[in-house]
């Protein structure tokens, strides 16, 4: 059935993966990638045809799940945000050597301008680093079509394929035409003769690395049809990729004169040097419009045949997102004259904790306890989630936020330097994502570190997805080697404030590692009833277990 519907760019990737017959989708939530997984999850749950959609504990786990599924001959999609790929990098880089069996597509959503991220790293560089192809759509429909192409490419070349999108495209909603849905089929396990390809001991890995390098010309031959050289009539050209391609395309409608400029339109990497050469032969000056790092700009600049303008020479800002305005300025087009900006000073309306959020009560207890033990000026190591908002004034309760799971290890590092009490604040989902190994090391180091786990029972910030740590936090903490009497579970509500402060103080005073769990469900999750079903089932299960084991004398 052919359908036309409205979809976000990131959702279009999820729809396409479903329609291209994937057997499984995996991911870890992270803006702006989250809705891609959610779109395919919705379709898979609706189809009830044996496909799977599974959130993973972190991006590396998600990637390995996809690789394992591919090993069995099925198609797999794995989704994450750009910094999530750092977590999955070990799996990603090495899967280039093993190759794939069933098609494996990695959707990675970059965040130029850092709308909700800690950096604006460019995933195209990581595809290049791993010697893997990367497709870069520029419209919602291309998100869909390129996903199909990526699966075909992955199976033809037997390598994972990256699909790179950016925030503006991920969260652009437009009409989408879908193709007929394919039923998942399996290529079956890899032939026995190729088993050693998957065993990356040095002798095999050396051979597979050569294989991967030998594959590069074929890889380029496959990506080249997606790239295009459009001749012009002047010696000044533009090189376009991603949103640069989208914005320029729009300007072209309004300024037909721009068609005089030769254009190099890039939608797939690696880029064939012959194509670059042909383009450079037509121009003396090039303007490069691409999101994030100066990838094309570097390549074209290195050849030294044309003056290359972009982020490196100041034609465009070195950081941040592209915009139609920036393109116009660089192209020397007159910007529209609109209404004057308001002269009144407009203070920023910063995001804040929801009214009644349990994190606020938890932070209140942590800050009071620190003051009570004479450490009111203590530096607290924070982590990634809604609770990161506590870094803002006036709360200013956390003093470092780096990456998922860093809070615990950084606090241990500080404690090892003699800076005590050392406090880490981490959410339940982030704890499951990367906090576990850090807590294992904390227990082993035996230093005075207090780990505060803010357990709101869901992945709050990205839209209350299920947390893999649900109902397991205490068991996880004990399992990492934290002594039973150094684990406390508290209810962060105003009524419990005094008791919570006292408990927190005891943890701070303990000379070894201790864990304080503040547990109260996210109020957004309560409002939406996200865990209602789960809690009802869990209660019924407990009642049943209770009756079954009841022994009367």
């Amino acid at each position: 059935m052919i359908q036309s519907t409205l979809a976000l760019g990131v959702e279009a990737v999820g729809c396409a993966a479903f329609d291209a017959g994937i057997k499984g989708a995996f991911g870890y939530p992270g803006t702006p990638s989250t809705e891609g997984f959610e779109a395919v999850e919705l379709l898979i749950h609706g189809a009830r045809d044996g496909r799977v959609a599974q959130w993973a504990a972190n991006e590396k786990v998600a990637y390995d799940l996809a690789l394992g599924l591919s090993y069995t001959g099925h198609r797999a999609l794995v989704t994450m945000k750009h910094v999530g790929l750092n977590v999955a990098m070990d799996a990603f880089a090495n899967s280039a050597l093993t190759g794939v069996r069933g098609g494996l597509v990695l959707l990675v959503a970059d965040d130029p301008g850092m709308h909700s991220s800690q950096n604006e790293q460019d995933s195209r560089r990581l595809a290049e680093f791993a010697w893997l192809p990367c497709l870069e759509p520029s419209t919602v429909q291309e998100c869909y079509d390129f996903t199909f192409r990526a699966f075909e490419l992955s199976e033809a070349l037997q390598v994972p394929v990256m699909l790179r999108i950016v925030t503006r495209l991920a969260h652009c909603r437009a009409a989408l035409t879908r193709r007929a849905t394919q039923t998942p089929t399996s290529l079956g396990l890899a032939p026995e003769a190729t088993i050693q390809d998957w065993v990356l001991i040095p002798s095999n890995a050396r051979r597979r690395y050569v294989d991967l390098l030998d594959k590069q010309p074929r890889l380029m031959a496959e990506t080249t049809p997606l790239n295009r050289l459009v001749p012009g009539t002047v010696r000044r050209g533009v090189a376009l990729a991603g949103m640069g391609r989208a914005y320029f395309g729009q300007l072209l409608h309004e300024n037909p004169g721009l068609s005089a400029l030769p254009r190099l339109e890039i939608a797939a990497y690696p880029v064939d040097p012959a194509l670059e050469q042909a383009f450079l032969g037509q121009v003396d000056e090039v303007l490069v419009f691409e999101e994030d790092y100066p990838v094309l700009e570097d390549r074209l600049g290195l050849r030294g045949t044309a003056a290359v303008r972009g982020r490196l020479d100041g034609t465009l800002p070195r950081t941040g997102e592209l915009s139609p305005r920036l393109l116009k300025k660089a192209l020397g087009l007159e910007p529209p004259t609109g209404k004057a900006a308001i002269s009144l000073e407009l203070p920023v309306r910063a995001p804040r904790f929801c009214d009644g959020c349990g994190h606020v009560d938890a932070y209140g207890a942590v800050q009071q306890a620190l003051a009570n033990v004479g450490a009111g000026d203590a530096r607290v190591f924070g982590d990634i989630g809604c609770y990161t908002l506590a870094a803002q004034e006036p709360m200013a309760a956390i003093h470092a936020v780096v990456e998922m799971g860093a809070s615990i290890s950084m606090a241990v590092g500080a404690a090892l330097a003699g800076q005590t009490p050392a406090v880490a604040v981490i959410g339940d989902s982030t704890f499951g994502h990367s906090g576990l190994p850090a807590l294992l090391t904390a227990a082993d180091a035996g230093v005075n570190v207090t780990v505060v786990i803010l357990d709101n029972r869901v992945v709050g910030m990205t839209g209350q997805q299920p947390s893999q740590a649900l109902d397991q936090v205490e068991r996880m903490v004990r399992g990492m080697g934290i002594a039973e009497d150094q684990l406390q579970v508290l209810l962060p509500v105003p009524k419990q404030h005094e008791a919570n402060v006292a408990a927190m103080e005891a943890a701070l005073r303990h000379p070894g590692p201790s864990v304080v769990v503040f547990r109260r469900e996210c109020i957004q999750s309560i409002r939406r009833g996200v865990l209602k079903e789960h809690d009802r089932e869990e209660k019924a299960r407990q009642e049943m277990a209770c009756c079954g084991t009841e022994v009367r004398p």
Binding site: R173, Q250, S323, L344
Partner: protein, 199 residues
């Protein structure tokens, strides 16, 4: 409307006010009117009570850019007066604003309300509505969004029937009464603009 240029609508408000769902209604209505349309939104931290804004671009020619240039928007729909002021410079000289007068003041440094209103009233093409009063009169607590959409509809190339269809579909799952109340709020807003210029 123009044969070649991008037209655009900016929507703004505070997280939780329904900016994104208004944008989606607009997108669907424009699409059903046979136009090319795109919507851009930013999710993430902005939904925790921070400023939220979305853009809807529409055109007779195919669109690839989901964002507008400053000074390129025809219409601004704002669910909050301070959030309206932030985007006035996105409007063309002949652009219009449909703005709720109802402030959300739970933030640091909110300017004096009178200054906010005065700044808005000084903008040509500004149409302010006391949505709090309207909601009371209509006995419909969440009338603001639909009323603003009704005001905006006077400046948009969308037929009455299409609006009714799209709104009805949007609230279908919530029952006939909710749909009726929302259509009523839309009509009330529509009635507030008597003589649209440049529609």
């Amino acid at each position: 409307m123009s044969e070649s240029r991008i037209h655009g609508i900016v929507l703004s408000g505070v997280g939780g006010q329904g900016v994104l769902s208004l944008a989606q209604i607009l997108l669907e209505a424009l699409r059903r009117s046979g136009l090319h349309a795109l919507q851009s939104e930013i999710h993430g931290m902005s939904q925790r009570g921070g400023s939220v804004h979305a853009q809807v671009c529409y055109s007779k020619v195919p669109l690839t850019s989901p964002i507008l240039d400053e000074g390129g928007a025809d219409l601004l729909i704002a669910l909050e007066p301070l959030e309206a002021l932030r985007y006035v410079s996105m409007l063309r000289m002949d652009g219009h604003l449909a703005v709720s007068e109802e402030p959300q003041m739970d933030m640091a440094g909110y300017p004096p309300l009178d200054d906010v209103y005065a700044a808005l009233k000084a903008v040509r093409g500004a149409h302010l509505v006391d949505t709090e009063d309207l909601a009371r009169r209509l006995n419909h607590r969440q009338a603001a969004g639909m009323a603003l959409l009704g005001m905006a509809s006077r400046f948009l190339p969308i037929e009455d029937g299409v609006w009714r269809e799209v709104i009805a579909q949007r609230f279908e799952a919530k029952g006939a009464r909710v749909t009726e109340k929302n259509l009523e709020a839309f009509e009330a807003g529509r009635g507030l603009i008597h003589d649209p210029v440049g529609a």
